[in-house]
Symmetry: C2
Subunit: 741 residues, 2 copies
């Protein structure tokens, strides 16, 4: 592959990008796509329907780019929360601007004039001329690479340090400046010991009144949804759908009203009224269900102060560490209810099991990867499929197959990974949705780096790849040989996976397709049927980090990748800002928990790039450069350890100092009573059930709050009317999230 082939590939991608972005700027103006491109804005307010049909709607315009560019970090914080800000910090991470300058003015000339040869015209130069492979063995110019490595590492570490510091500060401010957060007063307790004399609820009450009487406020059990209940609630749901359909004749459609089919029918009216009678007798079907519900060995315990809750969460409660296990509760919308009922003693084995399953999945995934690698070696392909020979002889086709196709196949295969990893993380037993997403993010990250980088670098069958890794000592040299050779694959990967995926992200191909199907085939005209998704951090963070990883490892070896990366990051900044502002809603927050992952990955990338450089300097017989690289590795690792000591603990626990100050301030303001009042409401498991109801439209027709089971038992002395408000607010938020890709 030479420069012109690379430029062909870049050209194709730029074209695709431009077309898609123009398409987006047109599509977003169509009123029918409002739900696809402005899901976020639709969530709270009703949209303007029936815009006038004008010409302007069909002209591409860059207004969204301008708007995304102009949005400040405060606005992003306001709309997308802290996670969005952290995500954009990962995007902006300025190191690659420095790397581009250093590598273009220092490393690239050294590579280009590395050997005494007659240079062709630049467009027809092979790519290898620009890589470190072109430098002579024993060349004295390798100090330039070593210096570049030093500059990149040092500036990366300095930037990482200040980012970590500012994100830690932001996290602290998020805690102190926010209004009283119910999760700070709540502890999730699991593994409540079984007792024959008393119920779980009594056990919890006795335990906490005995040992934490001064700070214990109340508690709320988590209930198991039995099989019978599931069947009955399914039946009820079906009934509601029928009911809903028959209702449409009488009342005008509300915001929340939903049904399986759009057109109202009247054939179920009789059944409906029969069911109405049944409901009249039993009050509501849910009232029966309440008896079937079973308590789990888990509960939310509410405390009077934040400090007391944190203390209870962090201190070992019982002399048997497998009983009375405490954790700080996730935020109310963040609770992953179905995992709370998993017996605690299963968790460790579930974790090990999912880890094993994930490793097995990675190994199985080698099959498509090796196929992709086959494509880059055209000769092999032509031998396997002789009928392709004629086709592949065309120059343009050849460039397409070697430069473009492998990446496309890889990307398509990679789209199956996040949902599977999300499933693994759910099975693992996370108590919060954000925790599940974070865990999935790590899994996808390991998967991506392994499968995109290592497996591509060590081409060949599964066995030969594992062989490479069984010989630890040779890895630097192996990497040093293999990475520059794969430069063109990585470069095209940035072009295809990077640029194209951003365009696809902005156009929201899948959602658009669903919208079209619904609108023109199923003929549903309701804008609100598309429920907005939360930001898919578990796919986007690993993607960004992968490109960062490729950037670091390739920077001094094949600097030509850097400008493409820089364009990718610039585009990503605009696209993701736009998406955060318009498309995704913030259902729950992890509070910047993605930053430590990004930090560690960057350090790993740096160290790996240094190890590869060490291997290269070894091959090129430059003992001075090798000698200088080793202290750099040690210093990078020490820097990482320092950051771990200095910043990481604040991402795990809240400081007593801060919590006590907040408690005092609230007590002075007299805000505590108000907070206590809300605690039960927000951690009510059956707001989830009531969402199901609200999805079915029943709550909005009748405002029936009596249907919430156990209300009397769980909230003694509280007015039912309080609940209704909170139900409506949370209605949109707690709908079971489906992973986007």
């Amino acid at each position: 592959m030479n420069i012109s082939a690379l430029l062909t590939s870049a050209g194709i991608n730029t074209g695709v990008c431009l077309v898609l972005l123009s398409l987006y700027s047109i599509l977003r103006k169509q009123p029918s796509n409002v739900s696809v491109y402005f899901g976020r804005r639709l969530a709270p307010v009703c949209s303007r329907r029936s815009d006038p049909f004008c010409f302007e709607r069909f002209v591409p315009s860059p207004s969204w780019i301008v708007k995304a560019w102009e949005t400040s970090e405060e606005e992003i914080y306001g709309t997308g929360g802290m996670d969005a800000v952290v995500f954009l910090r990962i995007v902006v991470f300025r190191i690659f601007s420095i790397a581009v300058i250093i590598c273009f003015f220092l490393v690239l000339p050294v590579n280009y004039y590395g050997q005494e040869m007659r240079h062709k015209k630049i467009p027809s130069e092979p790519l290898e001329v620009f890589t470190i492979e072109n430098v002579k063995e024993g060349s004295k110019w390798l100090w330039a690479h070593c210096l570049a490595l030093y500059i990149i590492t040092c500036s990366a570490c300095i930037l990482l340090y200040f980012e970590y510091k500012s994100i830690t500060k932001m996290r602290l401010e998020r805690i102190t400046r926010s209004p009283p957060n119910p999760s700070h007063f709540t502890v999730l307790i699991r593994a409540i010991p079984r007792s024959s004399q008393e119920t779980y609820s009594d056990s919890v009450k006795n335990f906490f009144t005995k040992y934490h009487s001064s700070s214990y406020l109340s508690h709320q059990m988590v209930y198991r949804c039995g099989r019978v209940q599931k069947l009955m609630s399914d039946a009820e749901k079906m009934y509601m759908i029928f009911k809903d359909a028959s209702f449409e004749q009488n009342c005008k459609p509300s915001l929340m009203q939903r049904g399986l089919c759009g057109a109202p029918t009247s054939s179920f009216t009789i059944i409906s009224s029969e069911m109405d009678n049944v409901r009249g007798k039993s009050g509501f079907i849910h009232m029966d269900l309440a008896k079937i519900e079973k308590e789990c060995a888990a509960a939310f315990v509410f405390f009077k102060t934040r400090y007391a809750a944190t203390v209870t969460a962090e201190v070992l409660q019982a002399s048997n560490p497998m009983l009375w296990v405490t954790d700080l509760a996730p935020e109310p919308h963040d609770v992953y209810w179905s995992n709370l009922c998993i017996p605690y003693r299963q968790l460790w084995i579930r974790k090990i099991g999912t880890l094993m399953a994930a490793i097995a999945f990675v190994l199985v995934f080698l099959i498509p990867i090796t196929f992709v690698q086959g494509l880059t070696q055209l000769d092999q392909l032509q031998q396997t499929f002789p009928f392709l020979r004629g086709l592949l002889k065309k120059k343009y086709m050849n460039q397409l197959v070697t430069g473009y196709l492998p990446s496309v196949i890889l990307i398509l295969a990679l789209y199956t990974v996040p949902p599977i990893m999300m499933l693994f993380s759910a099975v693992e037993g996370s108590i919060s949705r954000s925790g599940r997403k974070k865990s999935a993010c790590c899994k996808v990250l390991y998967f991506t780096i392994w499968n995109v980088f290592f497996v591509n670098v060590f081409t060949g069958s599964v066995i030969s790849q594992l062989n490479v890794f069984s010989s630890v000592k040779d890895i630097p040299a192996q990497l040093a040989k293999a990475v520059p050779r794969q430069a063109r694959f990585f470069t095209t990967y940035v072009l295809t996976s990077g640029w194209a995926s951003l365009s696809c992200e902005v156009v929201q191909v899948f959602a658009l397709f669903c919208n079209l199907v619904k609108r023109f085939i199923l003929r549903i005209k309701d804008d609100f049927s598309h429920c907005p998704l939360s930001f898919p951090y578990h796919t986007e963070v690993p993607r960004l980090l992968l490109f960062g990883f490729l950037g670091f490892t390739c920077s001094i070896l094949t600097p030509l990748i850097l400008p493409f990366l820089l364009i990718y990051f610039a585009l990503a900044y605009l696209v993701y800002k736009n998406q955060i502002l318009n498309v995704y809603i913030t259902k729950y927050e992890s509070g910047g928990q993605f930053w430590p992952i990004a930090h560690n990955t960057t350090i790993f990338s740096l160290v790996l790039s240094q190890i590869i450089a060490l291997g290269v300097f070894g091959i090129k017989e430059s003992s001075v450069a090798s000698g200088f690289t080793i202290p750099l590795i040690i210093c990078t690792l020490l820097f990482n350890e320092y950051c771990r000591q200095r910043f990481l603990p604040t991402f795990k626990n809240n400081a007593a100092e801060v919590l006590i100050e907040m408690d005092r301030k609230d007590e002075l303001c007299g805000r505590m009573e108000e907070t206590y009042r809300d605690l039960h409401t927000v951690y009510c498991q059956f707001t989830a059930t009531s969402h199901e109801l609200c999805r079915c439209g029943c709550l909005n027709h009748r405002g029936d709050v009596k249907s919430i089971p156990n209300w009397e038992k769980l909230n003694p002395g509280k007015d039912r009317s309080q609940l209704k408000g909170s139900l409506t607010i949370h209605c949109n938020l707690d709908i079971e999230e489906t992973s986007k890709k």
Copy 2:
């Protein structure tokens, strides 16, 4: 080496053991050796001097064995504390009795009749006939080995589980049943932030009255010993020695009176009286020193309840995790004062530094090991040193050199290891002596297992050994080939290092030698000059675990090692019990912290033995046996993970439940006030300084408590006379311990 050579070696060792043990039974009856063999009993009481010179003193007798055998676990707990009990549990660990039975009745016959061959008479059979090497490839009898492996693993896991459970219970009882322990009420705080307006002491007071006012009692700063102070205290010590010498004329020698030379002289009287005048003017030299002392950024903070102290220790205090770092305080005698002044931000780098240094030390240590290995290959030795050829031709000499000498050299070299590892652990910055010992124990353990097992198995130069480990995949097969080949080395190692070291331990060679030198060359007649040591867990625990490790890894491969091991463990049980009862004193306790180390090492041994078995079954082409071994490895690892979840947390933190119960009980009894009163006294840093004084005899001459600096400041409103008692009691305990070997 054949069976008769092995028996020769066993004979030599048995002889040596018997001689040493008889010698011990005689030596211990000599009044002059009381300080060597009854150090523990001397510590509290005065010995009976001048026994009558009788014949009985020179007859060996087994009375000590009987006494050691009869001592119950409760008595051991009473004299040696929980650590001693845990140590003996490691010794008794019953698995090897099971292993011997299984291996002798199942594995050994299979090995012996493994190949169709004519057997010689058993004494002249080579050792290899009894190892797994003798089994034919593809033999169907390998299921016997697999079954033996299963039985050993299962019984080991069951025993480990019940031991862990009972030790956890013992640990819990130790906490609940003991009288109020000051360390439970105390938190060590480090990294107090520097402030220009206030002293560290004021900072601590302000911080804790601000955030923990309800439970904060008082605090006590840790002081730095400056260089000037060190010089002055050295000068003072010298003065005291001279003073002491001149004093002997006037008053009769007391228990604590010590000097450099035993004979009283009168030549220093003038200087002494001059110094007396000086002391009259300045009150006491220490009074000046008090002004020079500087506060460290560390303090002991006392709380009103155990629960409050635990909470403060476990919860993150400040939003900067490198400030206000809290840990539960060690027990008063366990505090390692000189490490408390190390700035907290240095600690992480110290830990990394010592880790690197320890690794470097291990690599340097390969030199004597390779020399030892050279000895087992006699041909090489004869080539290198031709003059030895004549000597080595004698059969007896040959057996001695190959079977006995390598182990002796190895043992001598190994004696240098514990002091160096202890030094590393001190530099690392442990806050407690027991923590330092535990850390040294781990280092010595890794060192021993690496150097005795792995390096001996993979004989050859440093480079070739590292080469073996760079190829991960081949390790099982490599081990499977190498371990049976080294069987004779390991067997003789058990004989020499095991049996002989036990005899040396009981005779206390080094202490005896010192005692003789002192008594007959320096002519000091004072029994009390020998200060009793605490039990050297950091050398003995790794040794025991190493033999356990050898036992597991060799059990099914070369079962002949097992009877020797069994004898070793039986002897060890008696010897260590005797030593705990008579020789060592318990200065401080870790509360069973050595058990998790023992547990993990045993699991590691089991897994390694399974991996080796896997390799062997692979070489012998028994796919069934290999197939059955893999689930065993997985189950063992899962079992370990379960134990880690179930028991380990209680070894790290105390449960809130337990602490709160204890607090309540004490409050009901009204014992709290008493405990509060003692807290300051026991954590006074200058009891250490006063020990120096008491060593010099000054305190006992005058009972001068005024000399303790800062007493007024640190203990407002307390009577000085309270201190004196505690000083005398702790006098013997806090003397800087020197590692025994």
